[in-house]
Every structure is written in structure tokens, then in C-alpha cells.
């Protein structure tokens, strides 16, 4: 296992810049995940690491060895990178044994058999080696694809939307299972997905990618609670942005009251800024004197998600217990439970 270092990576496709100065560092044994909407460049980043896409600037290094730079391009087959593809890409004409053995070279038949037995045990599919891919369920195929990628002991494992072909109920549980396998083997891995639940279930660190830029590389907890960018605040979890005015270096004045905050660089007192309000920042309380009008509501089973209108016309979200059933147009009592506000400079 080796660490991964990406510095100032740029990549283009035809005339379009797909990757726009990516810096990323993954420690040995760390599991990273790139999260972003489709078309943001995350798959291109993965392909660049695998050597399946050329880069135009910057460099990629595995351990101490540079594998990609504008001058150096190590062929994919020489990089010792394991990759799991979105559709698994199992070879339909080969048995499970032959699929996993595909990348195993210079091993005797006995060593191969031992290695494959061990891998099948690792992914929990012992005794399946004689079957063919079409005889397996989607989840089983996925695990075989993982075993095949791990077989040649790659320096790093890359996974491109590995759970997107599976049923929704299966995705998170399999993601946790894969995490357990990778951690047990101490494997450095980088996954891309557009699904934050998968990302949070599997990764130590998650990077949010938008328009070819890595906006933030952080723990899942921090991405939710301390997003550095309005895009992340919007992409991860729910929330609304309302207008606030800076009144001192630690305080921002909003319709919800005076909130504590850390100011972003370069804003001055009296300036208007955006304040992130999560649904769990505003609690429903029938006893509260502070009442807001319900303009929309969504029943989510375990809770209601109300959209409430502030006097200025801006809206915020509020989560309430499932049995607090209030119609649209009524005014419900709320209270604020936010000890620290996240603010963003307003885009002009």
C-alpha cells in the first residue's frame, strides 16, 4: 500500500478543461471519497490516476514515484492500480476463479488457488470459484469485482460509482462491508460517487468536487457542519441561505436574531452576507411565542419538514416530530437552536 499525492492537476478533453487544479493527498491505508454531481470531473480524476486519461498539467505520485505528469506517463498496466468499475466489468466468458486470477502473474497454480481462496473468504463468497458471473446477484458480482481488483495487491484501489448498480437498500450496507474489508487489509482507496450516504458510510475523508475543482477535503462531519462553500452547504444535507448583516467581528444580525460566527476573509462590518440555516437549527415548539407561517410541508414518516416564511419573505426549513401535523397557511411556534452560524460572502 502506498500514499497518493496529486498536485495542481489539470486535465482536458478536446477543448474543455475537465480538471481545474486539483490538490489531493491520501495517506497509506486511508479511504477517500470524491463526491459530486455527474459531470463534475470526478470520474476523469479517477481515470487520470489510473492512466486512462492524459493530464495536461501538475503531477500524480504513488508513494515516491511520479506516475503522471505532462512529461511522464506510466502505462496503465504498469501502475499496479486496482480499479472497480461502475458495471463491475466482470469477464462473462470466464469463471469467478479465472476472473480473479486474470491479473495474477508469475504465481504457481497452487499459489493462485491459495490467493483466490483467501480473497473469496475476504469478500464472503467462499466456494463460488467455479460459478460464472451471470450466476451471481448484483451484490455478489460487485464483491467479485473487488476481489479481482485486490488480487494482484495493488498500490491503491480506485472505485468508480461501485454501488450505483445495486438496489438502494443494499448500497449502504455493502458500502460499510467494503469499508470493513479495506480497513482489515489496510488498503489505500479512493472512490467516486454522487451519493453522500455511500460516501459517508465508506470514507475517512470526503472531497466535494464541482466544475473540476476540489472545493473541500474533510471529514464527513465537518463537511456538514463547517462547509467552506455555499455549493457544499447546498449539496450535502438540506438547508436554506438567508441574508444577514455583519454587526461586529463575531456577530451577524439576521431575522432569527444575533448569531455567533466566524467571519470569512475580507468582509467588513455592515456588509450583507448569506447565513446557512439547517432544518435542525430551527426546532418546532408549540409553546413558543415566535410564530412563523407554513408555506410548504413534506411528510417524511419519522418527521415533518416544514418550509416556513420569515417576515422578509425569505424561507427556512424546520424539522418537527411526526405527530405535529399543521396545515399550510397556519402559523407554528419555533425556537432557534444554533450555537454557531456558517456564513458565506454574497456573490455579487
Amino acid at each position: 500500500m502506498q500514499s497518493l499525492d496529486i498536485e495542481q492537476l489539470y486535465a482536458c478533453h478536446d477543448q474543455d478543461t475537465i480538471l481545474n487544479g486539483i490538490d489531493l493527498h491520501l495517506k497509506e491505508g486511508e479511504i477517500g471519497c470524491l463526491l459530486g454531481p455527474s459531470g463534475c470531473g470526478k470520474t476523469t480524476l479517477l481515470k487520470s490516476i489510473a492512466g486512462l486519461h492524459p493530464i495536461s498539467h501538475g503531477q500524480i505520485a504513488l508513494g515516491n514515484k511520479v506516475i503522471s505528469s505532462p512529461e511522464i506517463h506510466l502505462a496503465t498496466e504498469k501502475r499496479q492500480i486496482g480499479m472497480v468499475f461502475q458495471d463491475y466489468a466482470l469477464f462473462p466468458h470466464m469463471s469467478i476463479f479465472d476472473n480473479i486470477a486474470f491479473g495474477l502473474k508469475k504465481l504457481s497454480r497452487k499459489q493462485k488457488t491459495e490467493r483466490i481462496q483467501a480473497l473469496l473468504k475476504l469478500v464472503g463468497l467462499e466456494g463460488m470459484q467455479k460459478r460464472y458471473p451471470h450466476e451471481l446477484s448484483g451484490g455478489q458480482q460487485q464483491r467479485i469485482a473487488l476481489a479481482r481488483a485486490l488480487a494482484p495487491k495493488p498500490h491503491i484501489l480506485l472505485m468508480d460509482e461501485p454501488f450505483s448498480g445495486l438496489d438502494v437498500e443494499l448500497r449502504e450496507s455493502l458500502a460499510r462491508e467494503v469499508r470493513a474489508i479495506l480497513k482489515a487489509e489496510g488498503i489505500t482507496a479512493l472512490m467516486v460517487t454522487h451519493n453522500q450516504n455511500e460516501a459517508f458510510a465508506i470514507a475517512d475523508s470526503v472531497g466535494v468536487v464541482s466544475d473540476g475543482k476540489l472545493l473541500q477535503w474533510d471529514t464527513p462531519y465537518n463537511l456538514y457542519h463547517q462547509p467552506h462553500h455555499p455549493f457544499i452547504a447546498d449539496f450535502i444535507g438540506q438547508g436554506a441561505l438567508i441574508t444577514g448583516t455583519i454587526c461586529s467581528c463575531r456577530k451577524v444580525l439576521t431575522e432569527l436574531g444575533n448569531l455567533k460566527t466566524h467571519l470569512p476573509f475580507g468582509v467588513v462590518s455592515g456588509e450583507k452576507i448569506s447565513v446557512l440555516v439547517r432544518p435542525d437549527d430551527i426546532l418546532h415548539d408549540d409553546d413558543s411565542d415566535w410564530k412563523l407561517e407554513v408555506v410548504n410541508r413534506a411528510f417524511r414518516g419519522s418527521h415533518f419538514l416544514y418550509t416556513l416564511k420569515l417576515p422578509s419573505g425569505e424561507t427556512v426549513l424546520c424539522m418537527s416530530q411526526s405527530h405535529h401535523d399543521h396545515p399550510i397557511g397556519s402559523r407554528i411556534g419555533v425556537k432557534l437552536e444554533m450555537d454557531h452560524a456558517i456564513v458565506f460572502a454574497k456573490h455579487k
Binding site: 486512462l52 498496466e77 461502475q86 466489468a89 491479473g103 479481482r148 480506485l158
Partner: protein, 544 residues
């Protein structure tokens, strides 16, 4: 399993199938008739040669079609170079060239008195004819078949290669396997079922051929059947020889059927089918690719067409006569009527499966469309046996009762011929209609019905407009096949009824090769139409 009761529609389909396939069952029944002296003689002398020649032909044609078809398919599906899009369809052109016609052209070009040997003799003296290979030989036949049949392998292999998703190759490379090795370890094995299916089709055509092997003097089953039938008039031995050939055909059919299913599953198995991005070839490499792909097109289409044009040009003055127009009229009207009859049958079968689905229809339709694999010579013989018998019975009865001789009402007229064509080409028409009907999803029928459309208005307002092109294509495909067909027509045509194919055959057999040029050219020109349709169909499926 409990079957639903059969309706009258099902019985109609069963009856049609039984009638269509009666000749084959009659033929097979001859297995249970003790053989006669002719058979004993045949088995001791000629039969081993028929079998040996057929096997050598199949081996040679396998080699030839694979060596031309697979690299062509790989180059077209995975590389990009100048003129690639032209080559993509031009590689299908040799399909327009019937094997017996290409055989005439190369005989004309390469025989002792032909331009090639004459030219060589002028430079190197008479020694040339000592070493110059004889085109009218087993080897020559293999070459002819390979040149016109490789498109089957090319077509199916290309389909398989271009349905292999990009991820398959990427995963192979991340596992440390180079692109070249990936071709042999992944791409080729995954395409193998499709390649084998294409090869089986090519080999069925090889076994079915009569014109080429007859002209080249290579004795195979078809020439043996023809000789026993026309020369000896021995029904029993002809039928038994035919059944033996059918065994070979049956094996090929099973191989084809099995491979196609496997190929379908290999291509369906992949979820995403992003075709791999094509590798650009420049300079020498592009030149080599173009040279390699040009070779089969030149040899299999351009040169023989040139020879036909040359002959036609020089014989046009006497060639274009009243007789020639009569030939065209005979051929075209016969082919058109046969195409319409076949289309009607195909419509009946296609709609039965859609409107009154029943488990019994699947095997029934498969049996009804077996004709595509049965060599024309056998179909001719098989149809003639029961039809002649019916004619004779009818004639005897009519004479008995009314003292009128009806003669050969069925077997001596075009009815028998059209019947034979319909059986042989039904599967082409049915496949075309089925794929057309497949585009009309059952939910369209249902939504039309919920909007108040009657059965009739459903057919005329939804199905007919959507099926129009399939109906047209099916008609054209059968039309052209009938036009090219030689042995069935040769054996079954009414007395003094000539077609273009029969005329070309007879002129060539009379050593009047140049005169055969005009009818042959017309056959090849009409044969180009299906090639255009085929390449359009493939393009519209969105494979770049």
C-alpha cells in the same frame, strides 16, 4: 405445465407449418426405405469423395472467412483512420456477389486463355501455364467462397466487438495486461460466440452452393444430388443423399443457434455499453489498415464487377435482345410474386405470435422457418417428390373419371417453385417483420385501445405506418434472394422457363462466359440493394 386451449388461429398456424415442411418430412421418411443398387454403388465410389470435398471446403472456407472477417471487424470497431466509414459498409459489398458468379469472373480472368495468363506468357513464355494454379479446383472454390462469405463473420464479429464496453478493456489494463494481450484474452474470447455464429452461416452457404462447385468440377453433396436426380432419376437415392447432407446442415444450425444465444448473453451482460474510444491511426499504420481492408473488397467485389462490366459492354449489342427482356420479366415477376407470398406467410406467423401468444408457437415457428438452412438443391428435390406424386394421383383419377389428363398441375408449374422459395426464404421475411413489430411496444397497442381504437383502426393507424419500412425491406430481401437463387430454379422451373440466374449458369456451362456477363451483372446490381439496407439498419442502431 398446463396449456391454454388452442384456438382456430393456432390450428391455422400449425396447418401452415405442416404444409410448408411436408417436403422435409417426406424426405426424411426415405431413411426408412431400403436403399437400392445405386446407393450401394454411390456409397462405395463417390460418397467418400463428396464427404471429403465438403469437409475440405468447410475447413478452407472457415480459415479464409476468419482471416478476412475478424481483423476487419476489429479494425473497424476499435480504430479510426481515413475512409473508415466507407470501409464499414463497403466491406459488405461482396455479399452482393453470388459465389457462382464470382467463380465465372475469376475463371475468365485466370484461365489459360484469360488476360492474366496471356500477359504472363508474353513476358515469361509458355512455362507460365506449368506453374500457374488452376482456378477451377477445390482451392479455387475455397477462395471464391471466402471472398464472398467473409462478410458474415465480419458483420457478427463487428457487432460483438463494438458492444464490448470500454470498462472491460480498462479493467484488463488496470490488472496489468497490455492492449494487445487484452485483444487475445478478453475481446476475442468474448466475441467468439458471435464469430462462430457468423462462421456457421458462411458454412451453411458453402454447403448449399451448387453453381460454384458444379462449374469448378468439385464433387460435393449438391452436385451428387443434382446428378442422381436429373441423370439417374432415382428418387430414393437422391432423397437419402439429401438427408445425409441435412445432417451436416443440422449440426451447423445447432452450433449457430447455441452461439447466438451465448453471444446475446455476453453482450447483454454488460450494463453500460460506452463503446471504447477509437484509437487514431496515422501514416504507415493507417496505410496498412486501408490496404488490408481494400483487399477483400477489391477481390470480392470490384475486380469481378469490373470483369462483368467488361463482358457486358462487349456483348451488349447481341445480348440486349427480346430474349434478355423476357429473362428480366420472368425473373422479376417470379421474384416479386414469391416475395409477396412469403410476406403473407410471414405476416400470419408474426401476428400469431403477437395476437394469440401460446407456448406451442415458439417451436412451431422455429420449425416453419427451418428453410433458411436447407440447401436449395434439397428443397427442390424435396418439394418435387410429393408434388409429382399428387400430380400423378390427380391425373390418374381424372383420367379414370372424366377421361381428362391434367398433366403436371403443381410440379410442372411455377406453383411448386414459389412454394419452394417461400419455405426457403420465410425466415428472412419473418425476422425482418419481427424486428419491426418489436418496435411497436405492447403498451402502444394498449394505449391505442384505451383511447378507443378498434382492432382495425389499431392495425391501419398504428401498425401499418410503423411497419411500412419493415414490410418493404422484407419484400426486397426475399426478392433479391429469389433472383440470385440458382439450384432450386434450375431443378424446378417449368419447361422453357428461363431466369437470369439460369441463363447465366447455362451460358457459363457452354463456355460462353462473356455472354453470361450481362445477366450476371444484373443479378449483382440488384444484390447491392440489400447491402445498402443492411448497412443503413446497422447505422441506425447507433453504432458509430
Amino acid at each position: 405445465m398446463q396449456f391454454k386451449k388452442l384456438s382456430s388461429g393456432h390450428w391455422l398456424v400449425l396447418l401452415v407449418t405442416l404444409l410448408l415442411t411436408t417436403p422435409i418430412w417426406v424426405l426424411v421418411s426415405f431413411l426408412f426405405v431400403p436403399s437400392n443398387d445405386n446407393w450401394t454403388h454411390l456409397a462405395g465410389t463417390l460418397l467418400p469423395e463428396y464427404i471429403a470435398n465438403s469437409i475440405w471446403l468447410m475447413l478452407g472456407v472457415s480459415f479464409g472467412t476468419l482471416i478476412l472477417g475478424i481483423p476487419a471487424a476489429w479494425l473497424i470497431s476499435h480504430y479510426d483512420f481515413k475512409f473508415r466509414r466507407i470501409f464499414q459498409w463497403a466491406l459488405l459489398l461482396p455479399l452482393a456477389m453470388p459465389a457462382y458468379i464470382i467463380a465465372y469472373t475469376y475463371t475468365g480472368l485466370l484461365a489459360f486463355e484469360g488476360p492474366v495468363q496471356t500477359e504472363l506468357r508474353q513476358h515469361y513464355g509458355f512455362g507460365v501455364s506449368q506453374w500457374f494454379p488452376e482456378i477451377r479446383s477445390l482451392g479455387g472454390a475455397i477462395l471464391m467462397f471466402s471472398l464472398v462469405l467473409y462478410p458474415y463473420v465480419y458483420l457478427l464479429a463487428r457487432g460483438a466487438f463494438s458492444s464490448q464496453g470500454e470498462a472491460i478493456f480498462h479493467v484488463s489494463r488496470t490488472l496489468g495486461v497490455s492492449p494487445t494481450q487484452s485483444f487475445f484474452r478478453v475481446a476475442l474470447p468474448m466475441a467468439r460466440p458471435a464469430i462462430i455464429a457468423g462462421l456457421s452461416l458462411a458454412l451453411m452457404e458453402t454447403l448449399a452452393d451448387f453453381g460454384t462447385v458444379q462449374y469448378f468440377g468439385v464433387d460435393t453433396f449438391t452436385t451428387g444430388i443434382f446428378r442422381t436426380w436429373t441423370g439417374l432419376g432415382d428418387t430414393k437415392t437422391t432423397a437419402q443423399l439429401s438427408v445425409l447432407l441435412l445432417v451436416f446442415v443440422l449440426i451447423l444450425m445447432l452450433v449457430e443457434y447455441w452461439s447466438r444465444n451465448r453471444a446475446k448473453y455476453f453482450s447483454n451482460f454488460q450494463h453500460s455499453k460506452n463503446p471504447p474510444s477509437k484509437i487514431h491511426l496515422h501514416g504507415i499504420k493507417a496505410g496498412l489498415a486501408i490496404a488490408f481492408l481494400s483487399l477483400p473488397i477489391l477481390l470480392g467485389f470490384v475486380i469481378p464487377s469490373g470483369q462483368l462490366l467488361y463482358w457486358s459492354y462487349h456483348t451488349a449489342e447481341q445480348g440486349i435482345s427480346l430474349h434478355f427482356f423476357e429473362l428480366i420479366w420472368n425473373s422479376f415477376s417470379l421474384a416479386f410474386i414469391a416475395a409477396l407470398v412469403t410476406l403473407m406467410l410471414a405476416l400470419l406467423l408474426a401476428y400469431s405470435r403477437r395476437m394469440i401468444p401460446h407456448p406451442i408457437l415458439t417451436p412451431t415457428l422455429r420449425i416453419a422457418t427451418l428453410g433458411y438452412a436447407v440447401p436449395g438443391t434439397i428443397i427442390a428435390v424435396a418439394v418435387m417428390i410429393p408434388f409429382t406424386w399428387i400430380d400423378n394421383q390427380l391425373d390418374a383419377w381424372m383420367r379414370d373419371q372424366f377421361d381428362i389428363s391434367t398433366g403436371l398441375l403443381l410440379s410442372g408449374t411455377l406453383i411448386a417453385l414459389i412454394f419452394a422459395y417461400s419455405f426457403r426464404f420465410l425466415s428472412i421475411a419473418l425476422q425482418t417483420l419481427d424486428s419491426g413489430l418489436g418496435q411497436i411496444k405492447p403498451s402502444m397497442d394498449q394505449s391505442a385501445r384505451t383511447l378507443g381504437a378498434s382492432h382495425w383502426s389499431l392495425l391501419s393507424r398504428i401498425h401499418l405506418p410503423l411497419l411500412k419500412s419493415s414490410l418493404l425491406i422484407a419484400t426486397i430481401l426475399v426478392f433479391v434472394e429469389v433472383l440470385k437463387e440458382l439450384p432450386t430454379t434450375l431443378i424446378m422451373r417449368p419447361f422453357n422457363f428461363d431466369t437470369l440466374a439460369v441463363n447465366a449458369y447455362e451460358l457459363a456451362a457452354d463456355e460462353q462466359l462473356a455472354d453470361a456477363g450481362l445477366p450476371a451483372l444484373l443479378i449483382v446490381l440488384t444484390g447491392i440493394i440489400p447491402v445498402i439496407i443492411l448497412s443503413k439498419l446497422i447505422d441506425s442502431k447507433g453504432r458509430p
